[in-house]
Symmetry: C2
Subunit: 348 residues, 2 copies
Amino acid sequence: MKFEAITIKDIARALDLSVSTVSKALRDSHEIGEETKQAVLIYAREHNYKPNPIAQSLKKGHSRSIGVIVCNIDNNFFSQVINGIESIAQSKGYNVIITQSRESYEKEVSNSEHLSSRSVDGLIISLSSETKNIDHLKRLYEKGLPIVFFDRITDEIPTHRIIANNFKGAYEATRHLIQQGYRKIAHITSSDSLSTTSERLAGYKQALIDAGISIDERYIKFCLHGGMIREETHEALAELLQLPERPDAIFTASDRLSTTTLSQLRIMQIPIPRDIALVGFTNSISADIFNPSLTSVVQPAMEMGQQATEMLVSLIESRRPVTQFEKRVLETQLQIRDSSQARQSPSP
Amino acid sequence: MKFEAITIKDIARALDLSVSTVSKALRDSHEIGEETKQAVLIYAREHNYKPNPIAQSLKKGHSRSIGVIVCNIDNNFFSQVINGIESIAQSKGYNVIITQSRESYEKEVSNSEHLSSRSVDGLIISLSSETKNIDHLKRLYEKGLPIVFFDRITDEIPTHRIIANNFKGAYEATRHLIQQGYRKIAHITSSDSLSTTSERLAGYKQALIDAGISIDERYIKFCLHGGMIREETHEALAELLQLPERPDAIFTASDRLSTTTLSQLRIMQIPIPRDIALVGFTNSISADIFNPSLTSVVQPAMEMGQQATEMLVSLIESRRPVTQFEKRVLETQLQIRDSSQARQSPSP
DNA sequence: TTGTAGGCGTTATCAC
DNA sequence: GTGATAACGCCTACAA
């Protein structure tokens, strides 16, 4: 099966012109006679001529495509970010190639290399939870590949970054639980190597400190796979429940973690929020129909994707080397629902 | 900003060989001396040589990439399908370029043309709800572009297709509602131009007929945008509720429709399933934590993506024109939960 | 105003 | 065994 398309050469032959004349006519060059130009244009249109982007890439050294690496596409937050990326990319004439690391360091490395060798003009990436070493990205960066980090970022590479205000989002979520009367607030989060994890953890801790509640490290659980593996969350939850001072609330730090924890609490038949209240980072559009409806820290995912893409395109299209880099921080939104209703204070 | 990579030419220069010798050595040709071969291989490895896929594409006439068009990536069913596509594509050495039609005919046309001009080797597509004319795909098909349809298919183009058993899925869902004691079962579905819509509608009707329940067309509501626009579903629901014989159950035909209907019923404070029971097609991983947990018709989305990709790759790599086409049908699964609990039969 | 030639990186053919 | 040459489709100095 071969996909045969019309080329400049075909047009040249048909009109008895040289390829360069045709090429110039197509690009509306001023050095081509009006007559010839029209003839070429008309012929091209009639035969539905489309320049071969592969050949253009080879010639021009870029591909008008951008690569995206996220841990998982099957996740509300990331699919919304990708929506944002796609919309801007399309409007600027770029293709988007999406790949998933599935939280695996190895896959992240191979994906990034694959993308760069496919001559993407730039890369938008949120690091995998396994990633500790970013030499693979440094290599690409040093070779001149523009990179923009979002969500799970690093400061080891000087380039544009965009994140949600994770600290504040976590702070507000925790403070909200405190205001609702909860004191023994646990935190289930992802791998501690992620920037999001440490920022959200810091927000959580600060809120406790500001309320005069001491921090109990046993209340903090790390799930290395960020909830991709259900058992992991299951276990973290089980450990929390077995604590002598069982938590009366949980703050979960990511999309999957939030839904899995909620699901698991339901399976264990632990009433929410009566026995345990719950607040979580999530971009699920269904948080309002959860049982109970889930108080959520929502990130401006679409906007994050859009701005990341705008920043990347500006890097790609910049004529001179960029040396001033931005770190944009977008505000989160706390949507208060039933899972964090005020504590009924049964026994003191 | 330029991305500089090492080429065959560089190796040739460094080792004082010709490019063709290096090229052959790299491809482990038998006509190259063991010594030279080793020298080249070692040098290539040390300098991390990677053949330029763009150049390879130009030379070989294909790009080892496949295009995907879905209506919306931010949707459990489709993101799971894409997961499946990605996994197989990766293992077979293909890149995946994902685009969204967002239920717009126009975007579907431009995406398909964009992809084909980007020289994808094949296309996997689920039609947009607006699409009635598929000339744009016929054009590509006739030029030799391998296409595989999934989910929302057409029979106007002879090629491989893969779908869920929509009829049976809908039949079982409806029969389940009947068995639970419901009689006035409404159906909210997508645009009637979609294959999925008519198949699910047929299943719904057949189940009613088999139970001796007459079909009331006023109970059937079409949402042209498949739930993308919330107001549409809102309105359909409102009309159902105003019917003299208000339905006692609703069967929704798609992912977004199901969650939106559930959400809307909650907002209207209509108890589920007491006043209205609900069963829906959905691949949400959170259906179990909905309020109430949602009885779902689940499609084998991941598998659908995997098989679609395998079929496409077999088309792409087939040496001789393929004339025998398959239509695979995958079974759905009915997951019974609280939203369809047996009818309490208040007033007869 | 139009055409020629060279090159982007790779590979296939054919000559040495 | 190795190398020169042409070609994939497009673009652009430079010649004519």
